[in-house]
Symmetry: C2
Subunit: 196 residues, 2 copies
């Protein structure tokens, strides 16, 4: 329980200061702990970052699995996955782009997180590819389109302000709808090639 | 001239190691300089990062200005801007997501870069908004859509591998086409509200 509170505090510091500048001292202060006490829970910034990233990926993977089992049409499934993705990133706990900075992890932890992240990305890509095969989506390069879609979703963590005018749910809805719409278009005038 | 070579070397280190882990020593080694010699050109990592970001924004702003003056239809203008944006990010010199990590800069430099970046984003947003007003694009929230589009473009710097199977130009083309397509769609079945 204490660990979760520390991760939340760390997320706020990562978001406010950027990953490079965030220090254990500041994370401790944000969590209301002495630095020594913080080290009792986490050995260092690497370990905190690893727990943040791992937790965020667990949330994303479980939302994806749940949606894939549902009986919605594929475009709606993809919208649901993207909405959950954005909400996870903008949530108080997972809400920091630091959760996507795998390069900042030491090699062993990085490999583990990358493997998990690749599993998630493949799942989304499979959803896009299945939609293309079934004619739900326009022919496209599912890998590139998946990266575009997830990139747009991930980038929200960089600009979203919890105190801003638009709540996270509106951002998530609008983004998911716009991105799925790009996949469903088939009548761009003067463009007979729809392959992206 | 030497400065430009150092920025290129720094970009490679930022891309390889992530911003947090990149050190002046490693940047010096990559540039073929002694650490002392590197400090002769740049006072520290902050200053290198600032020059990288400032230069990338100059490239983006000039591509935007040139495209806006052209006589192309608006969707094509937006595609051209996005293609130039991705190419700038994936270019050997500007090619690092570090160039987008304004939080890592000290306050004074950060304010300067953010102002320039906001100027660029407003320019792209104006292009989207003008397209909506003229009926070139579907009704949408131009601010949110612009952020989605630029987010997808920015994220390429995180996953693109120069040694990978797809050249930067193909990624730029595919991404720009997919993203502009999302703006032009008008016949999503069962969705009468096209506002995103």
């Amino acid at each position: 329980m204490r660990k979760l509170e520390i991760l939340k505090a760390a997320s706020r510091v990562f978001r406010r200061r950027g990953l490079a500048a965030a220090g254990m001292r500041e994370i401790a202060a944000e969590a209301g702990l002495s630095p020594g006490n913080l080290y009792h829970y986490f050995h260092g910034k690497d370990q905190i970052l690893y727990f943040c990233q791992d937790r965020a990926l667990d949330v994303l993977l479980s939302a994806l699995a749940k949606t894939r089992r549902s009986r919605k049409p594929r475009p709606q499934k993809l919208e649901t996955v993207l909405r959950a993705h954005v909400l996870c990133l903008l949530d108080e706990l997972e809400g920091s782009v630091a959760h996507l900075e795998v390069e900042a992890l030491p090699p062993r932890l990085r490999r583990y997180v990358i493997k998990k992240r690749d599993r998630y990305e493949s799942g989304v890509q499979n959803l896009v590819a299945a939609g293309v095969r079934a004619g739900d989506f326009e022919p496209c390069d599912p890998k590139l389109v998946t990266r575009a879609i997830l990139g747009a979703a991930n980038w929200t963590a960089r600009w979203f302000k919890p105190e801003g005018p638009q709540p996270a749910s509106e951002v998530a809805d609008g983004l998911a709808r716009f991105l799925v719409r790009g996949l469903r278009h088939g009548d761009t005038p003067g463009d007979t090639s729809v392959r992206v």
